[in-house]
Symmetry: C2
Subunit: 795 residues, 2 copies
C-alpha cells in the first residue's frame, strides 16, 4: 500500500489545538446556518421565535461544513509554513461557508465595516445573505478572496491552473465538488498538470469533496469502487491522499496529518525540480479525496427521513421553520449544538483564542492580493506595434496575412513580458499564423518530449491544449490574478465556451460595482479561421454567432472589433491589450488578403471605430446616392469590388464607402459607451439614402444595433445566412449573397432612377454569378479575375 493510501495513525494536533480548531470550525458552521436562517437574534440571546427567521430560506447547506473544514485546516498550513495560498470553492453554491470564514478572519469587516464584529454586525451578516439588497447566495465577486463564482459548475480546476501559472510561490487550494466532477470541463480540467511547470509555476492542490450527492442524486464519483477512483486519479498523474470519516475529531486529526504530508510532498517536488534541470516530466502532484457527509453536523433526520449524509441536505434541511414549531425547535437545537457562547463574546466578536488561529494580513486567503488581481497587476510592456506595420502600396493593392503581421508584433510582446503574458489556444497558434512567437518562446509542456518536437518545452509562453474550456478557464484564472493574455480560436468553436464567457462577463460587470475590486486586464479573443475561409472544413466550422452571444451582456464590459486588414488588426490588438475590465472580441483573417490602410490610416480608423474611406468612394465629401458599408475582411473585399464595378459601369452614381471596425459604434450612445450619437451616425450613413451593409456575421445583428437610427429602414444587410459547405472563398460569398455581384444588384434594385445602363449591368451581374459558379464547379477554384481582383484606382 502506498503512503498516500494508508490510513494515518499520526495525530499531529495536540488536544488543545484540536479543541481550538474544532471551535473555529463550529464558529464557521454557526455563521453559515445563521446566514441561511436568521433575520435577527444572531447570538441566540433569546429563544428562537418565528420572526427571527427569514421569510424565504435560500442557500445551500450541504457542501458548506466540508468547505469550512478545509478552509480552517488550510489556515493552519498557511500559518505553519507562511504559505501564500488562495482558495477556490468549486461548489460555489457554498457561499455562506466562505463568507463565514472571511468574516472570521476579519477581512469581511474590513471591507464592509457595517458588517463588523458586533451583535449588529453579525445580525447584518446573517440578514444580508440571499436577501434583497444584500449579497448573492454563491461565492460571488462580493466575497473577498474569491476568483470563482462556482454557480455554473465545471471550471474550478481550469481557473486554478490559470491562477498558478507564473506564480511559483502560490498554492491554489481547489475544492472540486463531486457533482462538479461529473461535468466534462472539470473532467478535462485535471490535465492541467501536463501544462504546469514545477519550478516557474505555482501548485494546484485539488481537493475532491466527496460528499456523495447532488441536488437529488448520488454522484458518480462516490459510487464507483475505491480502487477505480484511486486508479483514475493516479492515471491522471496525481498521487491521491484520502481522508474519510464522519466523526469531526477524528477527521480533524486525519486531515491535519494529510495536509502535513501533502504540503511536505509539494515542497519536495518543487525542491527536486529546482535542483534537477533535466528532471523527468510531470511530477506526481498530490491531490486529496475528502469524503465526509453532505450537510455534516446538520439535522440527521427531519420529518422522519434521513437528511444529513443525503441529497436532502443540499439546500435548506429544515424548510418550514417559520410555521412548523418542531422545525423551529430543531433549528434552535442545531444552532446551539455549535455552542455559540464559547465561540463569540457577548458583543458578537469571535473569541480571542479563535482569532489566533487564522493567518494575518495578506496571508489570509480572503485578503490575498492574488485573488484581487488588479491590485498586483503590472502593466504590459507594449513595444511599438507601428514597427511591424504592413507596408502598403496603394489602397487595396498589396497582399498580406493579417494574423501573420500581428504575430511578428506578438513575438515582441511575449519577449518583453516573460512573466505576465501568455497565449492560449486549442492547437492553433501556428495554424493561425502567429508562429513568429516561437522565435522567442515555446509551447509549455510538462509531458514527454520527443526528438521530432518543435517549440515544445517545459517552460514557455504559449499554452496549447485541445480544450477550449481549459484555454478559457486558464486565461480567466490568469487575468483574475493580475496577468494578461490572449485566446486564439476558430471562430465557430469559440461557442464551446459561450457559457464560460457569460459567467466571466457577469463577473466583470459585478466587480465594476465593487470598490475594493481593482480592475483587471481584459479577456481578449482573437477569432481567426473564420466563417468565410473554412476551405478545409466546411459547414460544421462556419458560425459567426459568438458575437451575438457577446452583445447580450452588459454594454460596459463587451467590445467587438472586425479589423479589415493587418494594420487595423495591429492597432486594435494594441488597444485591447492595454484595456481593463472588458471582454474584447477581435475577428480577423489569417489568409493572404488585400490591405487597405496604412498604419496611420489604421490608427485613425480604429480610434474612431469606423470611418468613410474617401479613396474608395466617389461622393467626394458631397451627398452620396448610396452608402456601401462593410465590417469584416471578406465582406470589405467584396464591398470594394462591388464599388469598383459600380464606378466602372455607372460612373454617375455617387458612392460612399464606410468601414466599421468597432461594432459597438453602431449602437446609440445611450445604449453603449462606444455608441455614435444620432447626429454622427446620420452624418455618416445619411438620413435617407440606401445603405448596403456587408457584414461578417449573421445579418440581423446590424439591424439590432441600428434599429433606432433615423435611416434604419434604408439599411439593407447582407451576412452569413447558414449556407455553406467545403468550397471556395468566392463560392461561399455567393452562397450567402455577400458577393460583389449580388451587392451591385442590390444597389441597382434600391437606388431609383439608374436607367437603362443599370438594367444591363444588373443582367451582367446575374450572368457573372452563373459564370463564377460554373467555373468553380468545373475547375475547383475561383476564377482568376475574381481571386486576383485588386483595387484598380490610384488615390
Amino acid at each position: 500500500m502506498s503512503d498516500s493510501m494508508r490510513t494515518t495513525s499520526r495525530r499531529p494536533l495536540s488536544s488543545e489545538d484540536l479543541k481550538r480548531l474544532d471551535a473555529y470550525w463550529r464558529a464557521a458552521n454557526y455563521l453559515t446556518v445563521g446566514q441561511i436562517y436568521l433575520l435577527d437574534n444572531p447570538l441566540l440571546k433569546e429563544p428562537l421565535r418565528p420572526e427571527h427567521i427569514k421569510p424565504r430560506l435560500l442557500g445551500h447547506w450541504g457542501t458548506s461544513p466540508g468547505l469550512s473544514m478545509l478552509y480552517v485546516h488550510l489556515n493552519r498550513v498557511i500559518k505553519q509554513r507562511d504559505q501564500d495560498m488562495i482558495y477556490i470553492a468549486g461548489p460555489g453554491h457554498g457561499g455562506p461557508a466562505v463568507v463565514a470564514n472571511t468574516w472570521l478572519e476579519g477581512t469581511y469587516p474590513e471591507l464592509y465595516p457595517s458588517v463588523g464584529y458586533s451583535e449588529e454586525g453579525m445580525r447584518r451578516l446573517f440578514r444580508q445573505f440571499s436577501f434583497p439588497g444584500g449579497i448573492p447566495s454563491h461565492v460571488a465577486p462580493e466575497v473577498p478572496g474569491s476568483i470563482h463564482e462556482g454557480g455554473e459548475l465545471g471550471y474550478s480546476l481550469s481557473h486554478a491552473y490559470g491562477a498558478a501559472f507564473d506564480n511559483p510561490n502560490l498554492v491554489v487550494a481547489t475544492v472540486v465538488g463531486d457533482g462538479e466532477a461529473e461535468t466534462g470541463p472539470l473532467a478535462g480540467g485535471w490535465q492541467g498538470n501536463i501544462w504546469t511547470n514545477p519550478v516557474t509555476d505555482g501548485t494546484v492542490l485539488p481537493i475532491l469533496h466527496l460528499n456523495g450527492y447532488k441536488i437529488a442524486n448520488p454522484t458518480a464519483m462516490a459510487r464507483v469502487s475505491d480502487e477505480d477512483r484511486i486508479s483514475y486519479f493516479h492515471g491522471l498523474g496525481y498521487e491521491p491522499f484520502t481522508v474519510e470519516g464522519d466523526d469531526p475529531m477524528t477527521v480533524h486529526q486525519e486531515l491535519a496529518d494529510t495536509f502535513d504530508r501533502v504540503f511536505d510532498r509539494i515542497a519536495e517536488i518543487r525542491a527536486e525540480a529546482r535542483e534537477h534541470p533535466t528532471r523527468p516530466p510531470r511530477p506526481r502532484w498530490p491531490m486529496v479525496i475528502f469524503r465526509t457527509p453532505k450537510g455534516w453536523t446538520g439535522p440527521a433526520v427531519v420529518d422522519g427521513v434521513p437528511v444529513e449524509g443525503t441529497w436532502r441536505a443540499h439546500q435548506v434541511p429544515l424548510a418550514n421553520v417559520r410555521k412548523n414549531p418542531d422545525h423551529l425547535k430543531e433549528l434552535e437545537a442545531w444552532l446551539r449544538s455549535y455552542r455559540p457562547e464559547e465561540l463569540f463574546d457577548p458583543t458578537g466578536a469571535p473569541a480571542p483564542d479563535l482569532r489566533e488561529l487564522h493567518p494575518r494580513g495578506l496571508k489570509r486567503m480572503s485578503a490575498q492580493p492574488h485573488a484581487n488581481g488588479g491590485l498586483i497587476l503590472r502593466e504590459l510592456v507594449l513595444p511599438d506595434y507601428r514597427d511591424h506595420a504592413a507596408t502598403i502600396d496603394g489602397h487595396g493593392r498589396t497582399t498580406a496575412e493579417a494574423t501573420k503581421v500581428l504575430g511578428a508584433w506578438l513575438k515582441d510582446v511575449v519577449r518583453d513580458n516573460m512573466d505576465r503574458f501568455r497565449l492560449f489556444g486549442p492547437d492553433e497558434v501556428a495554424s493561425n499564423r502567429l508562429g513568429a512567437v516561437f522565435d522567442t518562446t515555446d509551447r509549455q509542456w510538462e509531458a514527454e518530449l520527443y526528438e521530432v518536437d518543435e517549440h515544445q518545452a517545459p517552460h514557455g509562453r504559449v499554452m496549447e491544449v485541445l480544450s477550449e474550456h481549459n484555454c478559457e478557464g486558464w486565461l480567466e484564472g490568469y487575468t483574475l490574478t493580475g496577468r494578461h493574455g490572449l485566446f486564439t480560436s476558430y471562430e465557430a468553436f469559440i461557442h464551446i465556451i459561450d457559457s464560460m464567457f457569460n459567467q466571466h462577463a457577469k463577473w466583470l460587470a459585478t466587480t465594476n460595482e465593487i470598490p475594493w475590486r481593482a480592475p483587471i486586464a481584459s479577456l481578449n479573443y482573437l477569432l481567426s479561421s473564420h466563417v468565410w475561409r473554412q476551405d478545409h472544413n466546411g459547414f460544421s466550422h462556419q458560425d459567426p454567432g459568438f458575437i451575438d452571444v457577446v452583445v447580450n451582456k452588459k454594454s460596459d464590459v463587451v467590445r467587438v472589433y472586425l479589423p479589415p486588414d493587418a494594420n487595423t488588426l495591429l492597432s486594435t490588438m494594441n488597444h485591447c491589450l492595454r484595456s481593463r475590465q472588458y471582454v474584447n472580441v477581435v475577428v480577423a483573417g489569417k489568409q493572404p488578403a488585400l490591405q487597405y490602410t496604412t498604419m496611420e490610416e489604421a490608427d485613425r480608423l480604429c480610434e474612431r471605430g469606423l470611418g468613410i474611406w474617401e479613396w474608395a468612394g466617389n461622393d467626394e465629401g458631397g451627398s452620396p446616392d448610396v452608402v456601401m458599408a462593410s465590417a469584416g475582411d471578406v465582406p470589405t473585399l467584396e464591398c470594394l469590388a462591388a464599388i469598383d464595378l459600380l464606378r466602372q459601369n455607372l460612373p454617375n452614381l455617387k458612392v460612399r464607402m464606410v468601414n466599421v471596425v468597432d461594432l459597438m459604434r453602431l449602437q446609440p450612445d445611450t445604449e453603449h459607451p462606444h455608441g455614435l450619437s444620432d447626429n454622427e451616425f446620420d452624418t455618416i450613413f445619411t438620413t435617407n439614402k440606401p445603405v448596403m451593409f456587408n457584414y461578417h456575421g449573421y445579418p440581423w445583428l446590424i439591424h439590432r444595433l441600428t434599429y433606432r437610427r433615423t435611416n434604419h429602414d434604408n439599411i439593407h444587410v447582407r451576412g452569413y445566412k447558414e449556407e455553406g459547405t467545403t468550397t471556395t472563398p468566392f463560392d461561399m460569398a455567393m452562397l450567402n449573397d455577400i458577393d460583389r455581384y449580388r451587392l451591385v444588384i442590390d444597389v441597382i434594385d434600391r437606388v431609383p432612377g439608374l436607367g437603362e445602363r443599370a438594367a444591363s449591368l444588373r443582367q451582367k451581374m446575374i450572368d457573372a454569378r452563373h459564370e463564377a459558379r460554373a467555373y468553380t464547379r468545373e475547375y475547383g477554384e475561383d476564377m482568376p479575375e475574381v481571386a486576383n481582383w485588386k483595387w484598380p484606382y490610384d488615390d
Copy 2:
C-alpha cells in the same frame, strides 16, 4: 500482467486472410489519397500529370489510415459474429477514409449511383471530395452510416452511448481521437458506462486512436506513461486492450486477435449480466488503445523533414504537387505503393475477393438502419394530454405549477413508450417538478446503490448526469438512431451546449436536403428554472440567451415556444413530441403561477402560435389605443397586472392583450415557415398603435424578429437586461423594468392625450415601485398585494 495488457502472440489470421485484409485496407487508403489529390486518372492508367491534381488540396490524411484499418477489422468481426454494429469516427475530419469504406462495401454507389463501380465512378468519387458542388471534407450527413460529423471534437462518446441505449443487440464502435481526448466533453464522456445497462442497452466499444499528434502539437494522451494511461482507463471502469505498432502485417494480426478477445469479453459480460439479475454494478467493459503512426503508409519524409508519424501528416502531406515535380513523383509513388492494379479491376470496380470481405446488406456499417434512425423510428404512443389539463376557475385566478402538470402527462408518456422515450437532465427532473415520472420509472444508474436512494435503479427511463454535454450528446445519439426524448435544463446553463446545438441544427438542416436520410424525432428542450425565478441562485443563473443562439440557425429546423401556463405547456409539448427534424426550445416555469387558459383555449392559442386574449383587453374587437403583448410566464403575469391597473385607473383607454407562444410567428412568412403574413401581423398588432411587448428574454430579439413589420417603430420591448442577483421575483421584474408599474408608465408615456388622470397614475406607479422595493428590502419578500395579485374580472 492482466490479460488485457499482454502483447498477444496469437495470430488468428491465416496468411491468405491476412493478405486479403491488408489488400482491403490498401484499397481504402488508395481511395482516401485519391479523394484528397486526384481530379482525374483515378486508376493511374497513365503517369500522373499536374492536370490530374486538384488545384486546392483539402482534407485530412493523418487520421485516415487508422480509421480505415479499424473499419476493415470491424467488418471482419461483423461477418464472423453476425454483429449489428455502427461506426462513429470521433476524428470526423477523416472523412475520405470513411467515404472510401462506404464505397468499397457498395453502399455509396447504391445511394449515389453516379459514383459507382466504374472508372468514371471512381473519378467522380475522387473529384467530388472537398470540391465545389461536391461533398464536404468531414464525415458529414452525406456519408452513409454516419451519425456524427466530428467537425467539432468532443462528442463521439456521448453520441455513442446515446445510440446504445435501448439497443441491446447493437455495438457502437467509437473511435476517439487522441486530440479529441483532450477536450472536456470527451473526458466526461467516458463515464457513460455508469449509465449503461448491460442487459437492456447496447455496448459502446471505445477505441482510442493514439496517433500522437494534433494539428501542430503532440497529444497529451500520447505523452504520459503507459502505466498512467492504463490506470486512467481502468479508473474509468474499462478494461483497456492495447494494440501498438507500425508494421501493418503485425498490427493486422494483433488487432484481429484483440478484437476477437474484446468481442468475446463483450459477449461474456452480456451473458453474465442476463443470467444474474442481482449482478454487481458496472461491468468492466473493454476498450481498445490503438497506437499507430499518424499518416501511416504516407510519405515518410517530405522536403527533408519527417512527415509520417508526426503532426505534419495531419492534413495534406505533399502540399505542392501541381507545381513541384518531385512532389508529383512522390505522390505517384505513394499511390502506387498500394498496388491499385491488385485492388481494382480495369473498370474501376473493387476486385471480387475484396468484395467478399465486407458484410452484406444491412449489416454493412454504412447501411445500418440504426445510423439512419428515421428508417426505424417508431411513433411515440402519446396518451391524451387533455386528460391532465389544469382545471382553471376563471382566467388568471387559479394557481398551478406548469412543469408539475406536464410531469403527470410525461409519466404516461414514459409508461406507454418504455422502449423508445427517455428524459435527460443534469440532476433536475425532480427539482423541475417532473417527479411524477418516478411513479412509473426510475433513474437509470449502473453504479452502486445505497439503501437511502430513491428512484435509482439499473434500468429506468430517466438519465440524470451533471453534464449538459452528456445529456445533449446522449439525446442526440438517441434521436439520431430513431428514438425520442426530452432534455430538461436550467435555462442559463443550456448555453453550456450552445455549440453542440449548433452542430445538431446544421446536421438536421443538411439531412433535409438528403433524400435517403429519413426524418428523425425533434430534439426537444424544456428550459425551466428560468431567468425570472432564480430565487436561490442569482445573477450567475440568469441568462435567457439560448433563444438568440437558436434563432441564428436555419429557420426550417428551429422552433421556440414560450407557453405562459400549464395547459399551453401541455399542448406545446404534445406538439413537439410529435414533430420531426426540428430543434424545439420550450421555456416554462416550475413555480406556482397563475393559469390563464382552459385546455381548449390553450390548444387554440398554441395552434395559432399567438392570440388576442379578449377576456383581458377592453377593446372589444374594435381598434385599441394600445396593444399589450407578452411572451413568457412572468412577463405575461406582469402584463396582465398592468392591464388591470390601466383598466381600473384609465377605463376609457382601449387595451388589447396579445400573448405569443410561438416566437417564430413574429417573423415574416418569407423568413420562417411559421411566420405571420404582414396582413395577419398588422391585424393583430395594428399598423400605428403603440405596442408594449413584455418579453421573457433579451429584448432585442423581438426587434430582430419584427423589424420588417409596418408597425415596428411603435413596438417597445421590455425584457431581461442583465440586471439581477439573489432577490425576490417581483424585485427581479423591477430591476429589469418588466414589472406592471413600469409597463403602466410606458403606456402613459407612449399613448398621447391621456390627460391629468394618467399623469397622476404615472406618479402613483413611480411611488409604487419605491414602496415595493422598500418593502422587499425590509421584509425579504414581495408585498402581499403584488405576490397575491389575481386577475380580478369575470369574463
